[in-house]
């Protein structure tokens, strides 16, 4: 029993680290623009499909596939930003959200046009059997995801709090009007944050898909949902919150799956999300979400 709990927790942290990276991307966009990009997952998926295409057509190895995936996600992110966010700065945040949902449908169909079968193989990054530490099974590629998530969080934190760009980012997130008074081009800052988030998402997506060694058109919805739930659990818009939310989501899911099966696991997760929204509070840092930004 204790062993199961420990194994579940470790598995959950591994999966949760991918959620955390997705949540970081969401947070970056939400923090700067106060808008939700529901096309986030599908644009990552476009990147992964392009990567798969390169893999299948030209037999490229993991490194090239990874690069194509990230670049594809950035390109798709650029398209989404230009169509759903840039023209709607003056409108309510919901307009961008609905538009990004519409583009979600576009991207999903585009993916099935690129590769029409239900699933395709994706090259593994590390092809070696799991190893054991203190009786707990650990997969090397999942460990890599965890490491990448920690590195991404640290890098993002340093970028936001220690760089000139990060200062402009925080100024824009806080108060667009005042940031403009100081000569900060807030629209450009927004676009860069958006593309950065897409790159981060592309990296996270690539790690997840490589660990699964296959890709399906369901990935877009999966990534959007997981990233969104993790961000909301973390309390909307804080970097540590996103990471804690992601890890927490992973652990809750792992235990939920073990004890209740997949359907009740999902029910549990949605109920948790619903509760967080109604109470308008994240578990992240215990600060009311409305008060906190990046």
């Amino acid at each position: 029993m204790a062993h199961d709990l420990a194994q579940n927790t470790v598995d959950g942290l591994m999966t949760g680290s991918a959620y955390a990276m997705l949540a970081l991307g969401f947070t970056l966009i939400f923090g700067v623009m106060r808008r939700l990009n529901l096309s986030y997952g599908p644009s990552i998926m476009i990147g992964a499909y392009l990567g798969t295409l390169v893999h299948l057509q030209f037999g490229m190895g993991a490194a090239v596939v990874a690069l194509v995936t990230v670049l594809g996600a950035v390109a798709a992110g650029f398209y989404v930003e230009r169509l759903c966010f840039a023209p709607m700065r003056g409108q309510a945040a919901t307009a961008s959200m609905v538009a990004s949902f519409a583009i979600w449908m576009q991207l999903e169909e585009l993916a099935t046009l690129l590769l029409p079968r239900h699933s395709y193989p994706f090259p593994a990054l590390i092809a070696r059997p799991p190893f054991e530490i203190a009786g707990i099974l650990i997969r090397a590629d999942r460990l890599l995801t965890l490491g990448a998530a920690i590195a991404a969080m640290l890098a993002l934190w340093l970028l936001v709090h220690r760089s000139r760009f990060g200062l402009a980012l925080r100024a824009t997130a806080r108060d667009r009007a005042t940031a403009r008074h100081l000569g900060i081009d807030v629209d450009r800052i927004g676009l860069i944050a958006f593309l950065g988030a897409s790159a981060l998402g592309g990296l996270a997506g690539m790690l997840v898909i490589a660990a699964d060694q296959q890709i399906t058109p369901m990935f877009g919805m999966w990534a959007t949902f997981k990233g969104l739930v993790a961000m909301m659990l973390g309390g909307l818009g804080s970097i540590p919150g996103a990471v804690i939310g992601g890890l927490l989501l992973g652990v809750v899911e792992a235990h939920g799956q073990w004890f209740f099966g997949p359907q009740l696991r999902d029910l549990l997760v949605y109920a948790l999300l619903f509760l967080c929204l109604v109470l308008r509070a994240g578990i992240g840092a215990g600060v009311p979400s409305a008060e906190r930004r990046i």
Binding site: L167, R180, L182, G183, I184
Partner: protein, 238 residues
């Protein structure tokens, strides 16, 4: 230094500026008085590039800046101290100052200016690492002024710097305004606090209904009557 000619700025159908013409002389303090809703802040925003004038031209030292984006206007040497201060409350004092120098790339120059700001505003030095939101109103106003100065402006626009501050603090703010001007900064000031403003200004304009209705030198004309007209309404009705 600054030339504003026939500027019309509108919000939708409503023209807030109906053809404003005025100029700010280099090395001087010019003050803009006027009642609420006269269009003073709209004029500030039009100069700073936040609002695009519908007509007219704005030039800084013969260089046209009409309709430029705010970052280009800052680049050209204009900095705005906005109404209500608008410091970033969740950033430290130091970070707020750094943000003011956003468009500059000379690290050494920025560091030197930061030290100069701390000398000029010792209160800010004491609170260097504190979050700006925890400062008092007067300290926030000083931070807002210092932040604007960090871009090394040739022209400093100040929108109601005395708003909501206690009388002693207001005096200090105006002392700073005079000092800055003595050190060579041209200042264009919007004020409600007419007595204070007229005491420091070299020239003033009165604005009503989106137009400049009076222009003069303090002390030269019947100040009292002008102020009366601007703020308390004319008495000619009865």
């Amino acid at each position: 230094m600054l030339d504003v000619r026939d500027v019309v700025t509108a919000y939708g159908k409503i023209e807030a500026l109906k053809g404003v013409t005025l100029s700010v002389a280099e090395g001087r303090i010019t003050c803009l008085l006027g009642p609420n809703g006269a269009g003073k802040t709209t004029l500030m925003y039009s100069i700073a590039g936040i609002l695009k004038p519908r007509r007219g031209r704005i030039a800084l030292k013969d260089r046209e800046i009409t309709g430029r984006a705010p970052d280009q206007v800052v680049q050209a040497g204009v900095a705005l101290v906005p109404e209500n201060r608008l410091v970033f409350p969740q950033m430290s004092v130091r970070e707020n100052l750094t943000a003011g120098a956003y468009l500059r790339r000379d690290r050494a120059g920025i560091a030197a200016d930061m030290e100069r700001m701390f000398q000029r505003f010792p209160r800010l030095k004491e609170r260097e690492g504190q979050l700006a939101g925890t400062l008092s109103g007067g300290e926030q106003q000083m931070l807002s002024v210092a932040r604007a100065l960090m871009s090394r402006p040739r022209l400093l626009l100040m929108d109601e710097p005395s708003l909501g501050l206690a009388p002693l603090v207001v005096e200090e703010i105006f002392r700073i305004v005079t000092e800055l001007n003595r050190d060579g900064t041209t200042i264009f000031l919007v004020e409600q606090n007419a007595h204070m403003a007229l005491k420091v200004a070299h020239h003033f304009y009165l604005m009503e209904q989106g137009r400049v209705s009076f222009s003069g030198t303090p002390g030269e004309v019947e100040e009292a009557e002008v102020i009366q007209r601007a703020y308390l309404g004319s008495r000619r009705a009865d």
